[in-house]
Symmetry: C2
Subunit: 339 residues, 2 copies
Amino acid sequence: VATGLLARLPAALAPATPAFVVADENTLPLLPPALAHLPRHVLPPGEASKSWAELERLLLALDAAGLDRDSHLVAFGGGVVTDLAGLAASLHRRGIPWSAVPTSLVGQVDAACGGKTAIDFAGGKNTIGSFHPPRAVLVDPAALASLPGEHLRAGLAEVLKTALIAGGELYARTLELDLPALVRADARATAVIAGCLSVKDGLVRRDLHDHGPRRALNLGHTFGHALEALSLRTPGAGLLHGEAVALGLLCAARVAGTRRGVGAGLEHRLRDRLSAWGLGTTRSGLDPDAVLAEMRRDKKRRGGRLTLILPLAPGRVEVLEGLDDDVVRIGLGALTPGC
Amino acid sequence: VATGLLARLPAALAPATPAFVVADENTLPLLPPALAHLPRHVLPPGEASKSWAELERLLLALDAAGLDRDSHLVAFGGGVVTDLAGLAASLHRRGIPWSAVPTSLVGQVDAACGGKTAIDFAGGKNTIGSFHPPRAVLVDPAALASLPGEHLRAGLAEVLKTALIAGGELYARTLELDLPALVRADARATAVIAGCLSVKDGLVRRDLHDHGPRRALNLGHTFGHALEALSLRTPGAGLLHGEAVALGLLCAARVAGTRRGVGAGLEHRLRDRLSAWGLGTTRSGLDPDAVLAEMRRDKKRRGGRLTLILPLAPGRVEVLEGLDDDVVRIGLGALTPGC
């Protein structure tokens, strides 16, 4: 993690010699000249590129470029680019090395690190994929200046999630972080991004396959995934992933308050911080039954049990097993204006 | 490895509970009644099923069946079925457990064990795939009775390759193995199959990703792959994989004789054994330049260096780095009638 890293990418990647670049149409202009001569594959921007058809096109491009098992692939872009390119890297010749250069905030603090690769398939999100950790994740916070504001704000929800799991200094710094500091990529912002990456990396190293401690990173995502999926069914009302995670964090905090006696201060602090960043903290017209049904559908797609990560305090989370109507209703209460 | 294992498959798989079966139209009639009630996907038989399109169809079937991360998939068939099903198992929900029940000889002694999964892609063989070892490989030698004779003979080339790598008792037993014993699945045949599996399993456990000792298993395959690929370009002249490996073993033995002073007795013993099984040991009209060009193309597709595994003696192989015209010409000399 270093400001200005993009300008010295080939040196930062050494001793690996990049042989191929995957980018999207939005990130291509940011590509350092030193990588511009490499063979590359450029995706249309957006979640629609995480598809079976795009995966095939990318694999054909890797084949045409003659990449062998020692060829190093560089994924340059947001979560869509790194998810798809990582999956292709895991499949070409049964796996070639790759590095991620995430250019979005979600990518920098979450998606590019951790070895999970994926495409969307059969109507489900991230339902096809692999575990294929990149050799390196190279983060230049200065790249965030080019990010649309709503994507920057959405990424902050993942930052807050990670900081809440970690507690301590990272949590304190995150509560003080403002958008201008992030856009300027000042030292405080860089420290928060590096801190989030370090937290995630630590959990992933202990539990790559997500059966144990890594599950903490699901904080905010049980409600979040359901709200995101439901929102996408109404044209024009779709939530960005991070926007849904912001709401999910509040739901999880509310359940922690009701079921574990956590003081209301935690939920209030999270709400204040999310609001200050410009993220929505309420959502009207939600049907608890529909949310629970969506959680169950998601569970079936993702495997494993239906669990909720509860924030007990900064630096301390707990896994609640077995979600029922009551818990969902309690959680959604956090999103009703005035409650 | 046990004769009659098919009849007690569910018990043999315990504690894993099978949730889905992949088979092909030829192996489906062998499916034990106890597995017949499970949701399943049936492939057209033959190498053409190791395709991108069949992989998508299988992944859609796994999705439609609602398999989650704990669901156990059973691949029931030859190398095509286990290669494709293993790859699908590695991708569905980023990987679900699977077991292989190989019904062909190549599958029983080689393809199903070792964790390599694959499809053919962009004109190359096994160019897309993953490392996803099955939880169990369950071998019933009695299943071989239903195998066409040419496939049984072709599989014996892989048996001989493995026995030559291992040396000792397995090599001695293999030189005494005849086709009727194999079709009867008598105790000697079962011991040879179990021995081959054990040799492969030992190498794979030491070197899953095929950078070190596992490379010994490539014995016979440098020439073999090239001869197989070239043969497939002439309609009606195509070699089965094992038939090509038989020829490749003789080429490797000839190079070992010329370059390492290995006595001619080794090549003679291999030739006698392959002939006794009814496998071809000569091939006319081969152009050494075309063979070398095909080896180089294959190297580019597969990655890694162009190497030849030389049999120095039963139980002892050596890696020869850097193949040139001379080596290819020497090796092909073993296939010229009367030389």
